[in-house]
Symmetry: C2
Subunit: 694 residues, 2 copies
């Protein structure tokens, strides 16, 4: 499944290291920005003229799920369709020990039953403005990399603040082509989002972790929300009309969504560091955390329920990283990257002027990567991310300190333009599971001790003479941060209130804050600033050599992909373009109905009511990655024909290189949704809302 | 599909080169001879005591299809079940331009409608007798390899002749463990075999060449024959009772059949010659012949019908060789083989006595392989095998010459004990397609010219100044050999009649005969004799080191395999232990019903009559290879639970090494046969015959 996996696990530090290599994209590759769609290719290959009107309609129908996914409006009354697995976090948060909507599904038979999500923010990309000159011009000749980075950051904060003040819209400057371009994206933001429908997890995620990232598949991985404003459904003028016939084999289709991150344009040195240092370490970290959660889940049904959503996310990430790692061990892939980089650099050095301007960038990046490796462990393990309460505590401690600084000097995440969304998360009423928190925090501290040694300042101050188990127990059992009102009280009380607090989680966060800041500052000065400067150079070099014929690496911002519905060679034969409900029953019975291939009871009871030849899933060549989950698949007529929910196993290496031969996105077919709503879920009203528009 | 692919394409010359390397088999590996089943393993791992009675019952229920496949008795009235693709050659031979039973299927609704096959011989292994001492003792100390080979061959001919004379049974001495053992196998032989039932090829071979050698699968690859004697169905006292419930996941099952050939015990040098010389050449040869047949088939429906069976066989072989070749390029496999061989040789050289006796065998084989490579092309391309008429002509020319020699000095294939079966083939009334023959012979001659040059004696005498096209046309159009009576007349007329014949095919065969004999003789003296002597040494060395804890390479003789019904890891997930009729419909619709995924019309019309949850195919870990097609899968109660028809793509490298992790045999489930006979084919009487035994 293509859940957006980057930010919680890789962390901001590592996300920033992706820098541009770049050859012109060909064929059906590419996650294009909406200002630069591959119009020529579409015209030439498919005779399709992409108009501004078409682009605007698709963009304004597309929805970003801020906790990591995509979706789209599918009715004029604010109905938003995404994946069950994108909705999973919210499904868990609205569940209770008595009612497990994540597992059993949910259906609101009336507006009154629609259930408000505690902390779900949806964004619509309202406008895009090129700010490249403004950001790049703040860097003056002869500036040190460190000062240049500060100048850029300050200017970006200015742009965002100005935009917020003048429009009231969520405003973000997006770094594209590793600094080759900077764009201001403005979002319409919705925070009253209500759950309307979700199937049983066993229908959405049939085949479980085993079938995840594979195809052929048989998953009804969908969920429906409704967006409210002023306690009324929004009038969503821009929405995608659902076509239950879906798209045919060979048909041109588009995907509009928010791919999270890719490393397509990274230099070979960065890829080698990923392969040799970062990914093996992340795999170890995920396995360790999964062990903790699995042991916890074994203690009882309620514990299993609490651990389910995070376990799902970690298993998903593990399969991604294992797939990427496998890909990086492939010598052909590395050789291909090497060849691309050598070719690009040769073009740069062939011209004395460009050689002077850009030629050293690769060596600078290599040097910065060496530095990164030297303190990689601290950047990874000085972290409280695993425990929600501990990480809330640290956010509060940093929040009250950062907002006292001028906007341009604050740490990322605390700029004025970001505060509203941040407060929405800080004060979320979503439930907290203290016993699970204790296990996760204990593991996190033990892990930090194992990896950094007990002499590390972070470890020393976090433990303060206690064992990891004692520290975790004291912090979690003693804190009142599970109460959103208490969090608000602290934030509103500002620096003074936080400094005076004796809440053990706040005390704990205050004590580790300096060590966390130290490594972040070191990283900024020694890695990020150099990567940014060198990245900008390579970005410019690329434009100089190739023009704007390529697309930037993914940045969890809106992108357009295109391709065709098409099977592929696999397992000595071919995978079909689509699957049907027949296949769902085949695979379940083939495994004797055992986990993870059991069917929800309604699928057994109502089998004869379903038209089994209805297409269930399909594959297309559109280029997607984690974060694309929930993206609508769109016909050239602008209709909704399916929803992306996964990629095949061959797509995992797509983080580094796209291969049209066998890289496929996997989608739920629009026809399956209507068939299931009508004949399995007795939800004809929803099917009607998506197909009959009065 | 696991059609026996060795003899027509690889040729006898190459078959002989497989020589023993050998480590003790473990786990579920092994194609064991019935005199040496892995009783200890079965007892230990499964608590199953294999009795002589059980073994005898299974052996006498098992049937060898002499044109390359396996089968079993499934009723007390002589009903034999095998695969559609094993029956394919006969289905084609009983078809006419008006009635294409190969494509459309066949069902005899009464005994009168059962259709006699023109040249199908079935064999039942009646007895086995160890002749190792007798054969090995003919070789006297100090004999040259060449003379030793002649002595062995003479003794083998003697044994076979004696046995035939005393029992009337087909008698064959089988070389096992590359000469480590020699066994006399006696067969009860049936030549009145009548076709009873075959489904449409599109049901038997759904997914075609694409899905061939893959899994999950959805093929009803079955056919039924009835064995007659004296114009009455034989009373088959030994038969397997069909259990429509089949075998469950994890259940112990057996496979009894005739695997064709493997190279598991070959030395590394032999494997390298396969990889670097022989297999790439065979792939080229098959592709060339397939091109000829495809062009011919494009000329019309009748041409397509004529070419179908041979095309199927060649595509099947091509997929096998490509899979094997792929496997041989895998460095891990070669490293594993290297390690095994090094370990074995170290054990031999550690002891001065065994070092002296066996130590040089590997180098001798390596030298013989070098020689083989030197004249490989001639051994491959001095051949008329592609054209049935040309090869009949050569067989007749050689037959009348060979039978004038003492039995022990004749070429293989012309010993007294083999003559009856040979004459059955020589005088077969099966139809001949002259236009197709011309194309195949022309290609064969052109290919010989391309590969050997126009100066080669074979090419020179075959063409005799003509172009390949002219020669082929003159030979095929002018010959009367399409008439079985004419063939009989010539054979009965003996050497004089053949020498006097002016039939252009006979003239042609007489002219190429010396060059064919020359390379065969050279091969015997320079390769086979050395391989046989050295092979015997390694075989004995192996017994000295490992005892009789392994099984010999496959020799198209009866073997017993065992294993469990079990899925396996593939495509990033798992393949299920079984599939169902649901999956058949899923895969067909998934491809839009396009070739090779269209369904026969009865499957569409009668869909609602079929219990779609009936298991259709399943996989087990039993070790099989080409020739195992049609082998019954047998429960420990001795019941028929399925029929082997294929291996998965991962099994192709099984020619060299068995990997229990993912090597799987693919079988049709017994339940699917009964369900289909009853509800798709209105053949309840056959279903009853196989399930109710009065």
């Amino acid at each position: 499944m293509k859940a957006h996996r980057s930010c919680s696990l890789i962390g901001i530090l590592i996300c920033l290291t992706a820098v541009l290599l770049a050859l012109p994209a060909s064929a059906e590759e590419g996650m294009w920005t909406f200002d630069n769609p591959p119009a020529g290719q579409l015209q030439e290959k498919y005779g399709f003229t992409i108009t501004q009107q078409w682009l605007d309609h698709v963009r304004l129908s597309s929805v970003r799920f801020n906790d990591g996914g995509s979706g789209s409006f599918v009715s004029p009354r604010g109905l938003v369709l995404t994946n069950h697995h994108v909705a999973l976090g919210q499904l868990q948060k609205v569940s209770t020990p008595e009612k497990d909507y994540a597992t059993d599904g949910f259906y609101a038979r009336s507006a009154a039953e629609e259930m408000k999500c505690p902390d779900l923010e949806l964004n619509i990309l309202e406008s895009m403005e090129d700010m490249t000159r403004r950001v790049q011009d703040t860097v003056k000749r002869g500036m040190k990399d460190k000062d240049a980075l500060a100048a850029r950051k300050a200017e970006i904060a200015n742009i965002e603040k100005e935009s917020l003040d003048s429009t009231g819209l969520r405003s973000e400057v997006v770094t594209l082509y590793a600094g080759g371009e900077y764009w201001l994206y403005r979002y319409k933001k919705y925070v009253d989002v209500r759950l309307v429908f979700a199937p049983e997890q066993q229908a959405a995620f049939f085949g479980g972790d085993l079938d995840n990232f594979t195809y052929p598949r048989y998953d009804l991985d969908m969920a429906l929300f409704r967006v409210y404003e002023n306690d009324k459904p929004v009038e969503s003028r821009n929405f995608l009309k659902l076509n239950p016939r879906g798209a045919q084999e060979g048909e041109l289709v588009f995907v509009s969504g928010n791919p999270g991150s890719t490393e397509r344009l990274s230099t070979l040195k960065e890829i080698e560091v990923q392969r040799d240092v970062i990914i093996p370490d992340i795999i170890k970290l995920i396995r360790r955390r999964l062990d903790v959660l699995k042991r916890y889940a074994e203690e009882g049904k309620e514990q299993a329920r609490q651990a389910a959503s995070q376990t799902y996310g970690l298993e998903n990430s593990l399969k991604v990283y294992l797939g990427e790692y496998e890909g990086l061990l492939n010598k052909n892939l590395i050789a291909k990257k090497q060849k691309e980089e050598t070719g690009f650099r040769a073009k740069i050095t062939a011209n004395p002027e460009s050689a002077r301007k850009y030629g050293k960038a690769w060596d600078e990046i290599a040097a910065a990567q060496q530095k990164l490796v030297a303190r990689y462990k601290e950047s990874r393990y000085r972290s409280l991310r695993a425990s929600r309460l501990a990480s809330l505590a640290l956010s509060i401690v940093q929040y009250v300190a950062e907002i006292n600084k001028p906007d341009g000097k604050r740490e990322d995440g605390y700029h004025d333009s970001q505060l509203e969304s941040l407060r929405f998360q800080l004060f979320s009423p979503a439930p907290v599971y203290p016993q699970m928190e204790i296990r996760l925090l204990e593991n996190s501290l033990q892990e930090a001790m194992d990896e950094l040694g007990s002499g590390d300042p972070f470890v020393k101050s976090a433990l303060n003479g206690r064992t990891p188990a004692e520290a975790a127990k004291q912090v979690i059992e003693g804190t009142r941060l599970d109460d959103p009102a208490f969090r608000k009280e602290l934030v509103d009380g500002g620096q003074a209130a936080v400094n005076a607090s004796t809440d053990p989680a706040i005390v704990f966060a205050r004590s580790v804050d300096p060590a966390v800041r130290e490594i972040r500052k070191w990283f900024e000065d020694n890695v990020e600033s150099i990567m940014t400067s060198a990245g900008e150079k390579i970005g410019q070099a690329r434009f100089a050599v190739y023009g704007k014929s390529t697309y930037p690496d993914a940045t969890f911002t809106l992108r357009l992909g295109h391709g065709t519905v098409r099977g592929y060679a696999m397992n000595g034969t071919e995978a079909p373009p689509k699957t049907t409900f027949y296949g769902l029953y085949d695979r379940s019975i083939g495994f004797g109905g055992k986990f993870p291939f059991q069917l929800p009871s309604r699928y057994v009871d109502r089998r004869d009511k379903v038209n089994l030849s209805t297409p269930l899933n399909f594959v297309c060549t559109c280029d997607t990655t984690g974060g694309s989950s929930g993206s609508p698949v769109i016909s050239k007529e602008g209709e909704f024909v399916g929803v992306i929910f996964d990629g095949n196993i061959e797509s995992l290496v797509g983080n580094y290189v796209y291969n049209e031969e066998n890289n496929r996105s996997v989608a739920v077919h629009a026809g399956a949704m209507i068939e299931a709503l009508r004949n399995l879920y007795d939800a004809a009203d929803l099917a009607n809302e998506m197909t009959n528009y009065e």
